[in-house]
């Protein structure tokens, strides 16, 4: 696997990909400011993503990230591997646990891993993704379950 995934292509060839292949892990931080930015970019201004008082009133521990922000960040492990994001034919997740974003400098850390789970017919490959939040010190908890992308390879 090459490390030059920033520009389109070459998309990995179907024949070159083996089941079990691990994709390069991704780590990123989600801070309060990122949530505000995603509110504006997406149009999802649900108060639980920016107002701590409102989040607690509905029983959440604190402000939580948009599930769609986590889903978008998790997709990048696949799109960087592919080079061409348009090779994704299907992408699905379940939001199993919220990403709680404290009001501090560190925010929440997101750790994304993935592997080629199954080679399907017609040049298609299923990639299973695992997204976790936490830290190396405190441990990691899964925030997405059944996160899968089906991609079409040449």
């Amino acid at each position: 696997m090459t490390a030059t995934a920033s520009v389109a292509g070459p998309v990995p060839a179907y024949d070159s990909v083996a089941e079990g292949t691990e994709l390069a892990e991704k780590r990123s931080r989600i801070r309060r400011a990122d949530l505000i930015r995603y509110c504006g970019a997406s149009g999802d201004f649900n108060v639980i993503h920016w107002n701590e008082r409102a989040a607690r009133e509905v029983g959440l521990p604190d402000v939580i990230a948009h599930g769609m922000l986590t889903m978008a960040k998790a997709a990048r492990i696949v799109t960087d591997w592919l080079g061409d994001p348009a090779a994704i034919e299907e992408y699905a997740v379940r939001f199993s646990r919220p990403v709680v974003v404290p009001d501090d400098e560190d925010g929440a850390e997101l750790l994304v891993t993935a592997r080629v789970a199954k080679k399907l017919p017609d040049g298609r490959v299923r990639v299973d993704i695992v997204a976790r939040t936490g830290s190396d010190e405190s441990g990691w908890e899964k925030v997405l379950s059944m996160a899968r992308a089906v991609v079409v390879l040449p």
Partner: protein, 153 residues
């Protein structure tokens, strides 16, 4: 309060056209922290065979969530949006969204159910160009936490 199950199967008229802008795609890519040039650089996108910059795989939510509001915010449905979290999301993609696309979508309520004290609603939005060419389908499940009558009673 539980959700009104009579909404299941309801389909709404095609939504007002949404014109996808280059700067909206860039803004979205910035917000998800993805520097991929195909989201920002029209020349790079054309070189890769696309008519203009393409949008990230989850971008259709910008359009489909707005279309979904027709049912989500319908007071007759009975959804308490302050208690809503996103349960599941799936995109089935025919082609990526390009800058310059003029898109619309048809909303259908696929399911409404109560589970473990929560109310769940699953919707489908079929996104097409204004000429009817398919682009993507978004399936969303929203969960209203602890709002079901199951627990209230």
């Amino acid at each position: 309060m539980s959700l009104d199950p009579s909404f299941i199967g309801r389909t709404y008229p095609a939504a007002e056209v949404y014109e996808v802008g280059r700067e909206k795609i860039r803004e979205f890519a910035d917000a998800i922290g993805d520097p991929n040039p195909l989201y920002r650089d029209a020349a790079a996108a054309r070189q890769a065979g696309y008519p203009d910059v393409i949008a990230p795989p989850t971008f259709p939510i910008v359009i489909t969530a707005r279309i979904g509001e027709q049912v989500v915010f319908d007071p007759d449905l009975g959804l308490d949006y302050t208690k809503v979290v996103h349960g599941q999301q799936r995109f089935v993609v025919t082609r990526p969204v390009y800058a310059g696309d003029r898109l619309t979508g048809v909303l259908t309520v696929d399911n409404i159910q109560a589970a473990a004290g929560n109310d769940l609603i699953t919707t489908r939005v079929e996104v097409t160009t204004e000429d009817g060419d398919p682009v993507a389908t978004a399936y969303s499940t929203l969960v209203a936490r602890g709002t079901s009558d199951e627990r209230d009673q």
